[in-house]
Symmetry: C2
Subunit: 338 residues, 2 copies
Amino acid sequence: MLLDDSSRITIVEVAQYAGVSTATVSRVINKTGPVLPETAAKVYAAIEALNYKPNAAARGLASRRTNTIGLLVDEISGEFFQPMLRGIEVTARASGMDLLISSTGGMSQSSPPYPLGENNTDGLIVFADSLPQEELVRLHKIGFPLVLLHRSSPSGLNIPCVTVENKEGARRMVDYLVEERGYRKIAFLEGPDSHEDAYWRKLGYEESLAVHDIPFNPKLVSLGEFDETQARVSVSQWIKNGLNAEAIFAADDDSAIGAMAALKESGLRIPEDIAVVGFDDIRLAAYLDPPLTTVRAPIEQAARIAVEQLVKVIRGEEVEAMTLLPTELVIRRSCGCC
Amino acid sequence: MLLDDSSRITIVEVAQYAGVSTATVSRVINKTGPVLPETAAKVYAAIEALNYKPNAAARGLASRRTNTIGLLVDEISGEFFQPMLRGIEVTARASGMDLLISSTGGMSQSSPPYPLGENNTDGLIVFADSLPQEELVRLHKIGFPLVLLHRSSPSGLNIPCVTVENKEGARRMVDYLVEERGYRKIAFLEGPDSHEDAYWRKLGYEESLAVHDIPFNPKLVSLGEFDETQARVSVSQWIKNGLNAEAIFAADDDSAIGAMAALKESGLRIPEDIAVVGFDDIRLAAYLDPPLTTVRAPIEQAARIAVEQLVKVIRGEEVEAMTLLPTELVIRRSCGCC
DNA sequence: ATATGCTATGTAAGCGCTTACATCAGATAA
DNA sequence: TTATCTGATGTAAGCGCTTACATAGCATAT
C-alpha cells in the first residue's frame, strides 16, 4: 500500500494513548483474559479516538487464524450461482468471517498452486468438482477444515458435505411423468460427467424407469452439459435422427431451455407434441413459454448450511458427515399437466 | 488453524533444503533482485520437493501488500450481480489478485468498522452506494486505492469511476418511444433514491420529454425501486387510480417484470393496450411474454474495466477519472414494435 | 597494482499482532 | 502472621515473511 506512514496507527499507539500495554489492548479487543471494566473502557476510548483498526495480516500471522473462509467454485455463472453465493455471503458475515472467493475456471484438473488454502483461509467450501481430488486429499490429511457443497466426500476421507436430494428429485420427476402423465418414452439430457449433481440425477432417472419396467434406452440419452447451447445442439440432432419420445427430462433448467428452443425451431409444440421438464427451478423457469415443470433445489439453504458446518469444523466442533436437503416437484405447463 | 505443526513448512525450510538464505528464496519467489539461474533452480526444486506455499499473512505483514482487492456491494442479488461478479472475478484472477467480497447488506448507512479496508486489501471496488460517503472520504484521504463502479465520485474528491451511459440510454429509449412508436404519455417507474443509476435514468427520461415538448407529469412517475414486487404494487395502484398512459418505462428490467405482471393481472394487453420497456437487458428479458424491449448495459465489461483501473491505481499508474460505457437499445415486442 | 563498479548472496531488523510467562497486588486460607 | 492463590497487567518472544544494508567475488577502468 502506498499509504502515508504517519497515518498508520497500530496497537502500540492505542496502548500508549490508553496508558496500558499492548497485551491488554489485545485482550480487550479479543475478549481474552481478564481485564478491569475501567481499563477496558479506556482502551475502547483510545480505539475510538484514534480510529484504530487491527491489521488482519499481523493478526493472522500471530494467531495462525485468518478469520476468513474460502469459497471455491468452478465458474461463476448460471442462475445457479446467485442464490448460492448469497447464502454463503450472508452466513459468513453473520458468523463474523470474511469471504474469499476463487473460481478455478471450470478446470478441475487445474494445477497447483491453488489460490485458496491453508495459509490464507481458516477453512474452505468446495463446490462440486472445483478442486482436484488430490488437493482435497492433501488438505484433509493435514486436518484443514473443509466442507463440500453439491458433492460428496471421496471415499475413505470423511469430509462433511451438504447437497440436495438429486436422485430423489429426479426419480420423483420421472415417477410423475410416468404415473400422472402416462409417458413411457422419456428422453434424458444428462449433465457434465464430472459433476456429481449430474450423476445422481441420471441415476434417479434410471431408477424410476426400472421401477416402472421401462427398459433403459441409450438412444434416449444425450449430453445437455448443464448448458443451453449444448442441449440445443443435442436435441436438434435427436430430431434430425427421428427422436421418438413423449417427453424430455433435462438434467437442469438451462439445458431445458436449450431443448425447448430446439423443439420450437423444428415446429414441435410443447407440451402437445413433446413435454419438457428440467431441474433446479431457476427464476427463468416460471417465465418460459410454456412455464417449465422442474424440480426445485434449495440452493441458498444448502449454501447457508455449508457455511455453518464449516464454522463448526473450524471451531473443532462435530458436524454430521452428510446433509441432504429435500427437493420439490414444481409442476407447470411444460409437462402437459393442464 | 488446527494444523499439525510439523507439517508447516516455511521459507526457512526451503532455504535450508536449497542451501541458500531466506532472502534468496524470497528473491526467487518474487523475482526481485538478481539470482543466478542455477541458484534459482535449486530453490525451485526445494519448493517443489517440500510443497512449499508462502504464507499470505506474513507476506502481507512484511511487504505491506495484501495482493487482494476488495469488492463492496450493497446486496448480492438481482440478475445484475452475476455478470458483474464474473467480470470482477476473472479480471482479478488474471491480474494475479485475490478477491475479497463483502456485501454491506443494502444499508449504505451501516456503521463502522467496515469489513474491507486499508488493512486487508490493497484497494477497493465500491459498487453504487455500498459505502457511506464519510468512509469513502476517509479512505480517499489516506490515499487508499479506490475505484467506483456504477456511481460517480463525490465532488471534490477525484476517485476514478466506471459506469454506463444511463442517461443516454434512457434518453434514447424515450426518444424511440416518442419518435418511432408515437407515444406521448409515457409513465416512469423510478429506481431507488440512493442509487446513481436510478438518478441518471430518470434524468434521461425527463430530458427526452423536454426535447419532445412533452410536459413532465408527476402523476406518471412512481416508485419501482429496481424491485419486481414494488413495481407491481405501484402499477396496480396506478391502474386503480385510472392510469392514462401509452407506455411504461421501468428503470430496470426487474421492475418491468413487476409492471407486466400487474398489467396482465388487470387484463391489459402488452403492448396493444400499453407498452412496457425496461433497462439492463437481464437474461430473463428475452424470455418474457412479450419479450421485453430494454436498454442493454455492459455490466461485465464495466466490472472488468473497474478491476483493471484499480490494479493500475494500486501500482501507482494514472487512470482516467471517469469511464462511461455505451448502452444499447434492444428492441423486442413489448414496446409494440411489431 | 589499486580503485571502482557490478553481480550474487547473506544478515538481520522489522511488519503489527498474540500469547506464554513473569510480576505484583490484594484476598483467602492456614 | 505467613503461605497460597487469584485476578489484573506487563514483558518479550515469536509468527513467516520482505528488504535495507553489508559483504564478497570478480571484471573493468586507472
